[in-house]
C-alpha cells in the first residue's frame, strides 16, 4: 500500500482572491515582509496496491481528472510505501 500526498497550486497567472485577502490580514498584523501569498490544496489518501508504478498512474490520473483543473492548476505528488 502507498500513501499519497498531493499538492495543488494555482498557476501564477491566475488570480488568487483568497491569497490576496489573507495577505491583507498579514499586513494588518504587521507582517510587512510577507508578499505574494497564494493558497493551494493539500490532499492525502492511500492507494491500495503493492505496485509503485500502478500507484503512480492512479495518483496522476486522479490528480489530473478530478483533484486539479489543468486549465488553472498544477499538482505535485509524493508516494510513500506503507508497511
Amino acid at each position: 500500500m502507498y500513501k499519497a500526498t498531493v499538492i495543488i497550486k494555482r498557476r501564477p497567472n491566475i488570480l488568487d482572491p483568497q491569497g490576496k485577502a489573507v495577505e491583507q490580514g498579514a499586513k494588518l498584523m504587521g507582517f510587512n515582509n510577507v508578499s505574494s501569498t497564494r493558497i493551494g490544496k493539500y490532499i492525502e489518501f492511500f492507494v491500495n496496491t503493492d505496485s509503485k508504478s500502478e500507484a503512480e498512474n492512479e495518483v496522476k490520473l486522479y490528480s489530473e481528472k478530478l483533484l486539479s483543473n489543468p486549465i488553472m492548476e498544477d499538482f505535485e505528488y509524493e508516494l510513500d510505501e506503507v508497511k
Binding site: N13, I14, L15, D16, P17, A21, L66, L67
Partner: protein, 231 residues
Amino acid sequence: MKPKFGVVVFPGSNCDHDGYYAVKKVLNYDAEFLWHKENDLKNADVVLLPGGFSYGDYLRTGSIARFSPIMDSVIKFAQKGGVVIGICNGFQILLEAGLLPGVMIQNQSLKFVCKDIYLKRVNNNSLFTSHLEKELLKIPIAHGDGNYFADSDTLKKIEDNDQIAFKYCSSDGEESDKFNPNGSVRNIAGVLNKEKNVLGMMPHPERACDPLLSKTDGQGIFISIAESILK
C-alpha cells in the same frame, strides 16, 4: 408540439425547481426532472443544468458533479448538437466538463453577491439569444464563485468566434469594472461553445420569468431556445 426541457437534479442543486417552474408553469413548455444518477435524458430537447451547490461545492465548483452518471449522457448529447444551458452552478459544471472554455474562480470581493444586474447581449444570432426583445436584460445573480477566467489565447478564440453571449454592464449598457460584480475577465457573464449549442451563464434567467416577480427579462432566453427547437 412543445419543446421538452430536462432539468438535471444533482445533490445540492437548489434552482432545479425554479428552472422547472419557469419553463413549465410560466412558459408552458414540457419539463421533466432528470436525476443525476441516471443516464436517460428522457427524450428532452434541451438539457438544463440548474444552479445550486452540487456536492457542496467541494474541491472546485462543479468538479464532482461533472462525473455524475447523467453527465456522460449530457456530454454525448451536446457533442451531437443537443441544446444544453447551464445556469450558475450549471455553468461551472459545464466548464469542469470541458464543454465550455475557461474556468471559474472566487469572486474578486470574496463575497457572495446576490442582486439584480444588467446584462448586454453580445452574440445576437445564437439559438439562445435570437428572440430576446431587448439588448439589455435585468436579471439576478447569486454566486460566490462567478469570476470567469480564460487565458489570452482562449479569449481571442472565443471573441473571434463570437462565443461571448453576455457581458455585465450598467443599466445603460456601459461596460466597466464598476459594473462587473465578480471580477470576470472582460465582464463576461455568459459563454457559448464553439458550435453554439451549449450556453453557460452565471445570471439566473429562470428567476426573471414570472410576471408576479415584476421581472421577465429572462423569458427571452427560454423562448429563443424553444423557437430554435420548433423550427
